[in-house]
Structures are given as C-alpha cells and as structure tokens.
C-alpha cells in the first residue's frame, strides 16, 4: 500500500472515530470483523474436544473417588504406562498417535495465529461517511460479475471464461472459439473499466490469459 493511501485511510479513521464517539458503532471495526474470520466454528470444535476429554476424566475421577472399579482404565495404571512410555507400545503406533495429535495441534495453532482473512473485498465510497452504508462483497460475486463482462467483451459463451479473484489479483482465463481470435487488449480494457467502477479495497490488478488452444463448436 502506498503512503498516500495510508494517509487517506488514517484521515478517514480519525473522522470516523470522532463521529462514532457520539453514537453508533465504529464502522471501521465492523468492516474489519466482516472481512476477517471470527474462528467461531474452529472454536466450537476445540471446545467440544476439551469437553469430551474433560468429561471422560471427570467420569474416571468420580468413579475413583467413590471407590468403584474404573470404566476404561484405572488412572494410576494409565499414568504408570505414560511414565514407562517408549516401552510397552510399538514405536510405530506411538509415532502415529503423536503425529495425529501434533497435526491437530498445528491446525488449531495456525487457526489462532494466521490473519484469517476472508475472501471478501470492501466497496468503499460507502461506509466512511455517516450517511451511506458499508458494503462488503464476496470475491465470488466479483468474479462472476467480471466473468460476465469479459464474456461480453470477448464475444464467447459463459463456459469459455473463468475468473479467479484473490486479495490483490484478478486472473481472467479466456478460451477463444476455434478460428475466432480474442483480442486480449479489449478484454483487459473491459475488466479494468469494471474494476474501476467497483473501486474495490484492496484494489486488485487484472491479468488476462488467453489460452493457445481454442474450443471447437462453441
């Protein structure tokens, strides 16, 4: 992001917070929450996992406290086995269990520390002023809109265009009809025009990829 854009967002943020200090929520914060994952699903999975483990431990502890025989394994026996670990179990099985546990841990850890950006863009122009609403668009919607525009510019059927939208890049794949050349410049101009009208934030750059082989009978 260039410095001039940075200055602009900072300015609008101060204006925004001044407005929001009176009444209404801070829309910047709301937009950040909308474009980043809240990890609610993973959190529920993690909580359920801990609950299941704790419930089993609770059962064994309670059974032991009232002096009944254990359900699956006596806690003391389990601890004794843990202490003697490399012995008493095949190394392959032990390594496999360890690998699975480590993998699950890695999934939770990465969910916790990665930024968790969702495949969404902001449509600004709105959102920063008090009057107009804030707009968040899924990348899929942007892609289908761009695909339609590229399809019209290249004069091909919808099946011959595939658009991939990522955070900072738009890739348009066009398979021309066999014998009918597709002008890359025309498609690029159309896509850039559409992107300019959308004024996405962060702004992606467009790339056109016309495949060498055409489609027969389209």
């Amino acid at each position: 992001m260039s410095s001039s854009v940075d200055a602009g967002t900072k300015q609008s943020r101060t204006r925004q917070s001044r407005r929001s200090s009176g009444q209404g929520p801070d829309m910047r914060r709301v937009l950040h929450r909308e474009t980043h994952s809240s990890r609610a699903a993973v959190a529920v999975v993690a909580a359920v996992l801990v609950i299941v483990l704790a419930a089993y431990g609770l059962l064994e502890a309670a059974v032991h406290a009232i002096g009944q025989p254990a359900w699956l394994i006596e806690p003391q026996v389990a601890a004794q086995r843990l202490v003697e670990l490399p012995a008493g179990i095949s190394p392959l099985l032990l390594a496999a269990i360890g690998g699975v546990v480590a993998m699950a841990g890695l999934v939770f850890l990465l969910n916790g520390i990665l930024p968790g950006r969702r495949a969404r863009h902001l449509l600004p122009g709105a959102g920063l002023t008090a009057a107009s609403p804030a707009v968040v668009v899924d990348d899929e919607v942007i892609a289908s809109s761009l695909a339609r525009r590229a399809q019209l510019a290249a004069n091909v059927t919808p099946e011959q265009v595939m658009v991939v939208v990522s955070q900072r890049q738009v890739l348009v794949n066009v398979r021309p009809t066999s014998g009918v050349p597709v002008d890359e410049g025309t498609v690029l101009a159309a896509i850039e025009d559409e992107l300019g009208q959308m004024a996405l934030e962060p702004a992606p750059s467009a790339r056109i990829n016309v495949t060498a082989s055409g489609v027969v009978g389209a």
Binding site: A43, L49, A54, A61, P86, A134
Partner: protein
C-alpha cells in the same frame, strides 16, 4: 457484526494448539529418538512419585481413597462449564430493537421501533427483484447501539456496485421513515443458491 469474541477465540485456539502440538511432538520423539526416551525415563518417574505422594498424603481418614480425586473432578467440572460458556459466546449479538428514544411529545413515554420494521420493509422491497436469489435483513446490537445487516444473494453476473447503490437508495428511504440514522452493513454474498441457480440474463 455479531459479538463473537474473536480475540478470545484466537488466544484459546493458540493455547490449545501449542499444548497439542507439544504433546504430539513429544510422543513422536519418544518413539524415534532414544536420547529423548532416556531423558523421559529419568525425568518422569520423579514427577509421578511426587504426585503419588500427594495422593497418599490426602487419604480420607479410615478409607483408601484420596479426597484429591474430588478436587480433580471439581476442576474438570469447572473446565467443562467454562468451555460451554465459551461456545455460548459464539455468534451472539442479535437484537430486535431498531430505535428507542424518549418522546418529547404530549403523551409521556418512550418510542421504540422494533427491528422487525426494517426487516419486513426491506424484505418486501427486495422480494420482487429478478437479480436477487435471496435476501435477509437482521438487526444486531453492536456495542450497545443498533445496526442493520443486509445480506444479499445476487444471481451470477450481477454487478455488485450497482446493486449496492440501488439498495442504498432503499435504505435511505427506510431511514427517512424511521427518522433515525442506523448504521447499515450490506453484505453481497455468494451461496449454494447463487452458485447453482440460473444466471440473470437481462438487465
């Protein structure tokens, strides 16, 4: 928009991830590296003896069982309770009050506008549009103040900025009716219904 505690989620997930990762790596190293196995067999019996000592010292008088088991059970119960509370925090924040204000008119009392007003009005206004496969409007309470979230499911190929501009017009009309400015978030989304539905052909 909702008040899912995303920072808490991140912290707890990171903690759990670190614990599981460390345990898993330890198991793998125990199985593969003899040096680690040696260290484990020299270190862990001491810890286990210490724990055993604690359990032996806390037996019920006259019985074989230790009351430490009850403490362990209570701690696990507390942990389960905390986890349930954590799950309950996810996705909270729905509200059904759009505006509430003291009415300075002749009749004493407050005026309250429910979220259903905005939801029904917008749903009705959006219902007949051919470029939408679906729309939903929900009222949220963001840090104590009401906010609207409009979720639009456009058909394939609809230009999102034009759709947003048109819905903004509807929203300003709604604000004029309610007489109060409500922060609005428009979410133009894609879902299974838009993915497999027919494309909009004419516009």
């Amino acid at each position: 928009m909702n008040s899912t505690p995303s920072l808490l989620n991140r912290i707890l997930l990171t903690l759990l991830g670190l614990v599981l990762l460390a345990a898993g790596l330890l198991l793998v190293l125990l199985a593969t590296a003899p040096a680690v196995a040696n260290w484990w067999q020299s270190w862990s019996p001491g810890v286990w003896a210490g724990i055993n000592q604690a359990f032996n010292a806390t037996r019920f008088p006259g019985r074989g069982e230790s009351w430490l088991w009850i403490l362990v059970a209570l701690a696990l119960l507390l942990l389960i309770g905390l986890m349930v509370a954590w799950i309950a925090q996810q996705g909270k924040g729905r509200d059904n009050l759009l505006a509430a204000e003291y009415d300075p008119g002749e009749v004493p009392g407050d005026v309250r506008v429910g979220g259903g007003v905005a939801e029904q009005a917008l749903k009705h206004a959006l219902a007949g549009r051919p470029d939408l496969a679906g729309a939903s409007v929900t009222t949220y309470s963001v840090k104590g103040s009401p906010a609207l979230k409009v979720r639009l499911l456009p058909r394939q190929g609809v230009a999102p900025h034009l759709l947003a501009a048109e819905v903004s017009g509807l929203l300003s009309a709604l604000e004029a009716v309610v007489g109060r400015e409500t922060p609005v978030l428009i979410h133009i989304a894609a879902g299974a219904r838009t993915r497999f539905g027919r494309a909009e052909r004419v516009r």
